[in-house]
């Protein structure tokens, strides 16, 4: 019995002592990086050993860190005074993101903490530099702690302009940007809104589309989408195609469509939509029919009577035509202008007509460009409000 205790006692002591956490960092010693804005800066490499590499992209990042005490004070007062900003924005440069984090940790009294990062913004130079962008993405993906649910966006005009955003209601510029992104997402102006969703597109299809923010006179605006292919900026999609793009990709949940009826511009509120693709002609040029079912409501009609089924029917027909035109323009933009399939035709063919896809996959860009895409839109007006 004594021998048993002699064995057990050191074991229990060792278990108690050895399970100590070596990674302990007190919460007040952490700097919560709320927004991470990343861009590249082309620099001349002066190191003669690297003479073969004349220029090397260098990562530049703006780290926005809220100051909890000041945030609480600002929230209670309603708005922060210009002299007492409830956050700090630090601009740092480094070889890569870990280098920037290291630079932060060695020059600041807090340890950078990325688990709760809420917003990730990419600059234009970064997205034009395939190598730098793929390195950044690899780091974000590889790091077990980086919050993969952080919102992601592209900023026009360089990441420095993020410092120009002046929120009127929100305490932090980051929350202001996130709110604007949220509202745009609610209106189905874009599909991808966090790192995880961006990674699904980049990993599986090699493509993704990011919301493009612009700071104009202190205000945040989203007027276009950045098209990314193989870790590089391919181009921009104008705001006028946004709704069609989300609808054709079967992701349109809410939105508004203005259409002309009897000389009046009427807003049609989209409440749901469903898309179905069918391959009609399996020989070149491939012919696809995209059927879209749009459901929604009419909330204003200048006090005219909306109780007659014939009126509703003719309105629906007007909407069908208007939607069809909008979708055809969007498809034409991707086929002829961008010449890249962002509307899911390749994905559909690969999944549902795999043999045909295998036949054309090596030359898909040309096949997509020449494909005939027709739209069959069926709009339903389900509600007309409380007036007749």
């Amino acid at each position: 019995m004594r021998v048993r205790y002699l064995v057990l006692l050191p074991v229990l002591c060792l278990i108690t002592v050895a399970t100590g956490c070596w990674d302990k960092i007190e919460i007040d010693k952490r700097a919560f990086i709320y927004t991470l804005s990343i861009d590249t800066k082309a620099v001349q490499d002066k190191n003669p050993e690297d003479a073969d590499i004349k220029t090397k992209s260098k990562i530049k990042a703006i780290l926005t860190i809220p100051l909890p005490v000041k945030v609480a004070a600002s929230s209670s007062q309603g708005k922060s005074s210009p002299s007492e900003k409830p956050y700090i924005s630090l601009t740092l440069e480094g070889r890569d993101i870990p280098d920037i984090i290291k630079s932060f940790n060695t020059t600041q009294s807090r340890t950078a903490f990325l688990d709760h990062t809420r917003l990730l913004i990419f600059g234009e130079n970064l997205l034009k530099d395939k190598e730098a962008f793929s390195e950044v993405i690899d780091y974000i993906q590889r790091d077990a702690h980086f919050n993969k649910l952080a919102r992601v966006a592209f900023i026009k005009g360089g990441i420095d302009s993020i410092l120009d955003a002046k929120p009127e209601i929100d305490v932090l510029p980051s929350t202001y940007i996130m709110e604007v992104l949220d509202k745009a997402k609610e209106n189905s102006l874009f599909i991808v809104d966090n790192i995880s969703e961006m990674m699904v597109g980049l990993s599986n299809e090699g493509k993704t589309v990011l919301p493009c923010i612009e700071i104009k006179k202190d205000r945040v605006e989203i007027n276009s989408l950045a098209l990314i292919k193989d870790f590089q900026l391919l181009g921009f999609m104008d705001g006028k195609y946004m709704k069609a793009y989300t609808a054709i990709n079967n992701k349109l949940k809410y939105g508004e469509k203005l259409f002309k009826y009897m000389g009046v511009e009427i807003p049609y509120n989209i409440l749901s939509s469903q898309r179905r693709i069918t391959l009609i002609n399996k020989e070149e040029p491939l012919e696809y029919k995209i059927s879209l079912q749009m459901n929604g409501s009419i909330n204003e009609f200048s006090f005219r009577n909306l109780s007659k089924p014939a009126t509703i029917k003719s309105m629906q027909e007007a909407l069908d035509k208007s939607f069809k035109l909008e979708f055809e323009e969007a498809a034409n933009f991707f086929q002829k202008v961008i010449n890249e399939d962002y509307i899911g035709i390749e994905e559909y063919t690969r999944k549902y007509n795999n043999r045909i896809y295998n036949k054309y996959k090596d030359d898909w860009q040309r096949v997509f460009k020449n494909a005939i895409i027709t739209f069959d839109v069926n709009t339903r007006i389900e509600e007309t409000g409380t007036l007749r």
């Binding site: 050895a18 399970t19 956490c21 990674d23 077990a144 649910l149 599986n204 690969r350 549902y352 795999n354």
Partner: protein, 365 residues
Amino acid sequence: MVPSDDKVSAFQVGLIVFSSVFGSGIFLLPPSAARELKNDAWLIAVIGGLIGVLSVFLISKGKKVYSKYGLVGTNKLLFGKVLGTIFLVPYLIYFTMGGFMIRIYGETIKIFLLPKTPVEMIIIPLILLGALLIRTGIETLARFFEAMLIPIILMIVILITVVIPGSDFSNLLPAFTNNFSDYLKGALSALLVYTGSEVLSILFPYMRSPEKAFKVTRNAILLITAIHITVVIENIARLGPKQTASFIYSTFYLVKVSEIPGAFIERFDGIVMAVWAISQFSAYVSVMGLGHIFLTDLLNQKEAKHMVWVSLPPLFIMSMLGKNLSEVFSILNTTIEFVMPFTALISPLMVLAAISIRKKAGKEL
């Protein structure tokens, strides 16, 4: 020698096999299956499940002999002392894999929770904690698994429900487009996840009702298969085959990026991580618990408890093999591909063949 009070019920037998096989399967299977069969990854779970059921079926067929002599005794009786012992070497290798299991546990904890803590400091307390549990006997081990069952089920329920929103099940298409050789390779990779059914051959002398062994262990394997199929499908549906394949533990990532709209808990990865730790520890103590019974029998020892402490230093050395997780997985995969077909299928078949020959020859068993 089996203590008369150290017996387990049929349900507990099922639970021990469940714990041995389950381990980290739901975290490791999706990426390895996606690498092999892409959209058809879920088929690997089916193939693995079938292999598991076949294994417990073959082992259960020899229940009378295993119950009487144990695994070591049966091999020595049927094949002679020398040949029988040689046939037990793959089992010995199999049980040393407990070291790799604890290493994977330590490395995973290091990646996700304790990046600065030396892996030895994570492994040593767990080895000691496991030893304390194992030395108390097989029944206590079974009771530990009973206690852990509810948290593990809770983890599975959370995991399956939180990841459903945002799934695109069309990612499973195109189906059945791989070559036959890919499916064969997939079956080999399934072995890694379905190792553990072999413990049944050691359990027989400890069973109160050996006749129920096949039924309960088959159910355990089928339950694991169903869970694996669901988790693999969800991984592919949410992340797509290419992204799933790019991870070591895609399911952790999947839970990390899942949120239920309107739920008051924003992130579920902490809960899943905590229960995963229990699940992996259960698999480790199960394999090690039965491994030390095997070692006791192999070395012809009467008392089993002191063997626990004897096995700790080699276990720790095994857990330190491999410089990083990639090397550990490489060693583990190679070992399993070599050992598992023998311990799970060939050895039980050989035992059945030898029993049949002895019966025909009129020799008693």
